[in-house]
């Protein structure tokens, strides 16, 4: 029994086919599993191991290295507040403390109804709009406590189109598989190399 639902399984196989070695698909497949389940489950890792020709332990070993992979369920919205240097100077620690009070959870926790998980982030790269807040890897540009609260209210009462639910990292999918057969690459590169040598000879 596949853990990936049929549509997801098909996409998973398409992703594996993009790489010279199946194992390279590990990160994209972990993202895909999170898109399906909202987090990275043990069953998903078993299937990713099968697809990438590795073991579930290796997949777990890789996945657990990365902050974006959650091996336990998280909220529909993962809210990240940056407190790194540019945000620190702009009141990032204070905004994070406000977020804790406002959501009623500490950093790393999920609200009781499962809507929000709060995280303290390293620099997210939106330093001219500091302190920087992201929801599900989207910049929301709420730099004040009030703006933060109204965003949370909005998310509580309904979705915001620009912010997908957690796990859906990219709403854009690759539209084509690999277009160039390996033999074509080999032949073409050999032809260009031969041309270069004959030009050199002509020049020299």
């Amino acid at each position: 029994m596949s853990h990936f639902l049929p549509g997801f399984r098909l996409r998973a196989e398409g992703i594996v086919a993009l790489y010279p070695h199946a194992r390279s698909a590990t990160l994209p497949l972990c993202h895909l599993a999170q898109e399906q389940d909202g987090y990275l489950s043990a069953n998903a890792m078993v299937e990713i191991a099968e697809l990438t020709e590795t073991t579930p332990a290796e997949v777990r070993g890789t996945a657990s290295f990365f902050d974006l992979f959650h091996l336990e369920p998280v909220g529909t919205y993962v809210v990240g507040v940056c407190t790194n240097i540019a945000c620190l100077l702009a009141g990032g620690l204070e905004l994070l403390a406000h977020a804790e009070r406002s959501l009623g959870v500490a950093v790393g926790e999920t609200t009781a109804e499962g809507t929000f998980t709060l995280e303290e982030c390293e620099c997210l790269g939106d330093c001219d709009v500091a302190p920087c807040v992201q929801v599900n890897c989207r910049f929301v540009r709420t730099t004040t406590p009030d703006a933060f609260d109204s965003l949370i209210d909005q998310l509580r009462t309904g979705a915001i189109p620009e912010i997908p639910r957690f796990g859906l990292l990219s709403r854009v999918r690759r539209s084509v598989g690999l277009a160039v057969p390996t033999e074509v690459i080999a032949t073409e590169r050999a032809r260009v190399a031969a041309e270069a040598t004959s030009n050199d000879r002509a020049a020299g």
């Binding site: 194992r23 390279s24 330093c127 990292l169 854009v172 160039v180 032809r191």
Partner: protein
């Protein structure tokens, strides 16, 4: 006086609402450079890049042309784009990926032609949801437009480009850790030698790794010639460069300006650039090139924004991020937060980095929150000296990658510039800044 008459080489479209679309890209000269490049020989394209003496924009500043010439001949070679941008307060590659992704893709295809690589991968930092969507769309559209895939523009050249999402780990910005991640493993930097992926890279094959901004310069260089690029800037620092300005400035943002002809003071104070400090506060320190770089005091504001010029003063231009720390900002807190960043992001392979970062973070935290001791300042310096013996710049390498030996930068800088603040923290039982 700031010198602002240089052309916008990589930011000509970032101000447009639709600069990321294929239609706008084509309407503004997009993919002309690729056509030009395909009419030239790969070696001729590489020569233009060499003539431009384009320095890598990812942090190390290695000349791109030289790196390209080091790519070992092999039937299978790769080009990998480093879009992992996670150096604190660096936010220029994200701008390029979100706002002008076709420029990057065109740069990648031209480079792939020059290098004759088998395939190319664009690694995009996981947290950049929009950036990822924009780059993916650009790649999809480039295939549909005939700029990617089989027989590009009827030239006989064929190429596949795969966009690869990261997943949140600063260390994957190191090119060898990035390659490990691309192979589906943890982001552990590789043990050197081999020193250069150009000899042994992705899957053990020769690989060129270049930064997003570096490759975004390529279309302009091919269209205008390497010499036109080299005519801008001075000495080894040619062309323009993106500077990400943040902290206590009125107009934080990303500015493309000519190298060397402008100083830190120009960048921070020119009305068209930073516009001065917030509330005209005095400057306590400037971090000139990302979290890893040693800080400059206010006496060094007139140092030109050039690679060698900054290096001469004991720091580095690094990732091009300039952070302004104001007179009222707590230096201990800043050093503590940056150290915590390194401690969280250390991959844990090397003892000096893994353990050292933890110790330093704990000492700085107790200084900041009360519980610090007078001896802590010497203790900090002693631990720093264990990580990077001699505390010089560039630091002595004691670890697998440069992250470890960079940890002392904010600490030794803060102590050198603001030692009194550390003692005040001891006396007042912590930070009095609130």
């Amino acid at each position: 006086m700031a010198k602002l008459d240089a052309p916008q080489i990589v930011t000509s479209r970032v101000g447009l609402d639709d600069g990321h679309t294929l239609a706008r890209y084509l309407a503004t000269g997009g993919y002309e450079s690729l056509r030009r490049a395909l009419s030239m020989s790969p070696a001729a394209v590489a020569e233009e890049v060499d003539a431009a003496s384009l320095l890598g924009r990812g942090g190390a500043g290695f000349p791109a042309g030289r790196k390209w010439s080091m790519l070992k001949k092999d039937p299978v070679t790769y080009l990998v784009v480093n879009g992992d941008e996670s150096e604190p307060a660096t936010f220029k590659d994200r701008l390029l990926m979100e706002r002008d992704p076709h420029q990057l893709v065109e740069g990648v295809i031209i480079s792939a032609w020059a290098l004759q690589v088998t395939a190319a991968f664009i690694f995009v930092r996981g947290e950049f949801g929009l950036g990822l969507e924009r780059v993916l769309t650009a790649v999809n559209d480039a295939y549909a437009h005939g700029a990617l895939g089989l027989d590009i523009f009827g030239s006989g050249f064929s190429l596949d480009v795969v966009v690869h999402p990261g997943a949140g780990a600063y260390i994957c910005g190191d090119e060898t850790a990035l390659l490990e991640t691309l192979e589906g493993k943890r982001g552990f930097p590789r043990i050197k030698p081999p020193f250069y992926p150009a000899a042994i890279g992705l899957y053990g094959q020769p690989t060129v790794v270049n930064n997003v901004e570096t490759l975004s310069n390529i279309p302009w260089i091919v269209l205008n010639g390497g010499r036109a690029f080299a005519a801008l800037g001075k000495g080894r620092s040619t062309g323009t460069r993106l500077f990400a300005l943040s902290g206590r400035v009125r107009r934080p943002g990303v500015y493309e300006i000519e190298m060397v002809h402008n100083t830190f003071r120009d960048l921070i104070f020119d009305p068209a650039l930073g516009g001065g400090t917030t509330d005209d506060v005095a400057i306590k320190a400037v971090i000139p090139g990302g979290a890893s770089s040693p800080w400059f005091g206010p006496d060094l504001l007139d140092v030109p924004l050039g690679q060698d010029e900054v290096a001469e003063h004991g720091s580095m231009l690094g990732s091009g991020s300039v952070i302004v720390i104001g007179a009222n900002d707590c230096a201990v807190r800043a050093a503590w937060r940056l150290t915590r960043f390194f401690q969280r992001e250390s991959c844990g392979q090397c003892t000096p980095c893994r353990e050292g970062a933890g110790w330093l973070e704990r000492i700085l935290r107790r200084l900041e929150t009360g519980g610090g001791r007078r001896e802590d300042i010497d203790l900090l310096l002693d631990v720093c000296d264990n990580i990077a013996p001699g505390l010089g710049w560039p630091p002595q390498q004691t670890t697998i990658c440069p992250l470890g030996p960079s940890i002392p930068s904010p600490i030794t800088s803060a102590i050198a510039l603001c030692k009194d603040e550390f003692f005040a923290h001891v006396e007042h039982g912590g930070c009095t800044d609130g």
